[in-house]
Symmetry: C2
Subunit: 461 residues, 2 copies
């Protein structure tokens, strides 16, 4: 009943950071020290311990609402009405809110957000997403059957990944991932048994992805694993950079370019054969609803037999959270001009001036340099640390930027995310900071940062 | 940098139902025919096609709200207020609703349900769950550090499973799973590369789990895989049965017995060494909030190093949906006597009379037999089909109970779930029906069922 076959397993012998393919079952945990200390400091402040600051500002995450940004009223009113439809009878809610909630409830089994949905998501919402994508890409068609809603794009990311890994079965399967990169991407691929092959983004060129570097990375995988997929982030996390079209080099506030649109424009055979899995989530952009957990993936050029298998993988979970699905509908179909909720929805959360301000400040202080932030909610400044500081960090058993961040937290109450967590280029130091925060808070953040930094550089120079 | 080792891989040579260990990468999909036909019939009814019924009643899922049961007002009011805190200023919401929403918002970063939470869940809610478990088990302590909230218990089930499979690395790892069993359990284990070892519940003894049968199953795994875990459902799905303590054989309306409590009462060394992962979710019980996606797992006697690894596995997803987490809080801490929402919360959704009624009807009609339903929301009656019907099914390329269910749908508009999907004992036929539905609907369901069944039995006898 069972057939036997012999295979060869490769296992990595060291657990160090590599420039070549990396397979680690047990990923390094983020610098626990830093976040543990932050929790401790918060407790101490509560207990009345005197510090040079009254509260810890945590900008180590990309969590706009956690950072004090108010959720969009339209989104919250629709959610409240969907959960508790008695609210539909009150005229306290704007007309378009009530209409939208009515429409969405009509699509829920038993008119309730408490019912399971289809595996792909509520068909009406899935169809709306495909319309949104078609609009975004200037008419390049998107088909509802290729779209899956999940509880956040993190979850759905695991499906094609595990698929890739299963298809290539007993070989080691490689995925090209950028450096620096949001750590959970590498973690997910490795936990699922895959190998990550780092390619380095070119910091001095605004974190650009370069063909030569991709070739080097591919070369490095030879004899170790079988590279089958390329992972790109758009905009980059932590870098906040947007991919450039070869023709356009106007960096600041570049236009969002959809990879799917580019693929379509390349024409056959490429446009009809290259497989693409494209992720988006309600945690991103102006809506920033991280806690509701709603994301989707669109799959392009995937073989029908594989699509059937993907359906099965998604059905191992019941369905995505209905509040998350509703958030996706509101994100892809915001109020239109003339709707009662239009003006409130379009209050600009973060002004371009605010972005420019961060860029300006971080480039005017010695020891900092920062590539322009073009999208997303993060800045990823580089730290040019004195040798003394680097030695001190080594003595303390920390990475240089981790050491810097621990001191920053300790002395100024500012919590940022060390670049080390994003697998940056060996010998460089950075940190990631969430800049999607209230304008008043941002000013305070920049003040604390510059004042600490100046002191720190003086101490170690 | 890489070390090589040779291992032997076993792969199953057939994809048929087995009584021994089963490893299938591509699980059989549920009887698609049936659900496709149901969709079609719904469309036809909309288009005005004449049928002997006006609408399809879908009781193939365990989805109380999809089945017309109203959500609990307390739950929905708290959710609405948490999403849209302006509602807290209105006196239209009961005092305890506003207090609870206030309390929960205080625990959300930025006082918003749109913020990420800690990996384990919001600490206040996690702590509340541990208190609930301690209360449920009559004082057997439960520790917050052992609890993880996830987007439904389906998701969290995958974590210990993948853990088990990873730990046992390149061996085939077996998990003992009951027959019949909710299909997604086997599917998840197999998708993750594990082997399921079926053990049969004893139908005539009220679907009891028998030691001798467990021993037989273990024996069957020898030389094929390494059995490391036992999966039990309490109450059973689809069977609706509760595990019996050896001493008590009073079947009907048995008391819920927690496996964790039993483990604790067994005393050392067993109580201190046997590892237990216990799952629960807000989709279950009276609250029945399937669409919000909130579940948790409690881990008992797991090695601290492994707990650290579990933390990492959970952190590959950002966090569970906040609405789902709130639902867990409301489920584990319902309104108390004296609270304004108490009486409304405790309106009994499904009366015991209703349960008895299903049991009575299904046992009074020839060709049906049904074990008592003791918990959960399902009945799983057995079909004693005439040989002619079994032959006819084979001709149509269907399993006997699938054939029965397709005809039931076609002729009476009733959609139930064929037992075949639950990997029942070879040669038996069943179906699962959701009985957590409105009383009026249930009467209609029983009428349609008995009338079709009588006709069907006559046709084939």
């Amino acid at each position: 009943k069972w057939s036997e076959r012999k295979v060869t397993i490769f296992t990595p012998m060291s657990d160090q950071q590599e420039t070549g393919p990396t397979m680690r079952r047990l990923s390094q945990l983020e610098s626990v020290v830093l976040w543990n200390r932050a929790r401790q400091i918060k407790r101490e402040l509560k207990q009345g311990v005197k510090k040079p600051y009254r509260e810890v500002i945590d900008i180590s995450w990309g969590d706009p609402q956690g950072g004090g940004i108010k959720p969009l009223s339209f989104v919250r009113q629709v959610l409240a009405a969907c959960h508790y439809p008695q609210l539909l009878n009150s005229d306290k809610l704007p007309e378009d809110v009530r209409q939208r909630a009515e429409r969405l409830l009509k699509e829920c089994a038993g008119r309730s957000t408490g019912s399971y949905t289809a595996t792909q998501g509520i068909p009406y919402i899935v169809k709306g997403i495909s319309e949104f994508i078609t609009r975004r890409d200037g008419g390049v068609p998107s088909f509802p059957n290729n779209i899956y809603i999940s509880s956040g794009s993190q979850w759905s990311l695991q499906v094609p990944t595990s698929l890739i890994l299963i298809i290539s079965s007993f070989f080691f399967t490689g995925v090209l991932t950028p450096v620096p990169c949001y750590d959970k991407v590498n973690m997910s691929i490795r936990e699922l048994g895959g190998v990550t092959i780092p390619y380095y983004l070119h910091e001095d060129q605004g974190w650009e992805l370069q063909i030569e570097e991709l070739n080097r990375a591919l070369e490095s995988a030879k004899g170790v694993c079988n590279p089958v997929a390329l992972y790109v982030m758009n905009p980059g996390n932590p870098t906040g950079s947007l991919p450039q079209r070869r023709s356009s080099f106007s960096w600041l506030m570049s236009e969002f370019v959809s990879y799917k649109k580019v693929l379509a424009e390349m024409g056959p055979p490429i446009s009809e054969t290259v497989e693409l899995a494209s992720f988006h989530s309600a945690s991103k952009g102006l809506i920033g609803e991280c806690g509701l957990r709603g994301g989707y993936v669109e799959l392009v050029n995937v073989d029908p037999a594989v699509m059937e298998y993907i359906y099965k993988l998604f059905s191992t979970d019941s369905c995505a959270s209905v509040p998350g699905q509703i958030a996706l509908n509101l994100m892809t179909h915001p109020p239109q001009p003339g709707d009662p909720s239009y003006s409130l929805y379009n209050e600009v959360i973060m002004t371009i001036t605010q972005l420019m301000r961060v860029f300006e400040v971080l480039n005017s202080v010695p020891g900092f340099s920062c590539q322009p932030v073009e999208g997303g909610g993060f800045a990823f400044p580089r730290l040019h640390l004195p040798l003394n500081a680097i030695h001190k960090a080594k003595e303390a058993g920390m990475q240089p930027d981790e050491f810097y961040c621990v001191r920053l937290l300790e002395e100024s109450g500012l919590l940022v995310n060390p670049g080390w967590n994003f697998e940056q280029k060996e010998g460089t130091s950075h940190f990631r900071m969430n800049i999607m925060i209230k304008e008043e808070t941002l000013e305070g953040v920049l003040r604390r940062l510059v004042s600490f930094h100046t002191k720190f550089m003086k101490e170690f120079s």
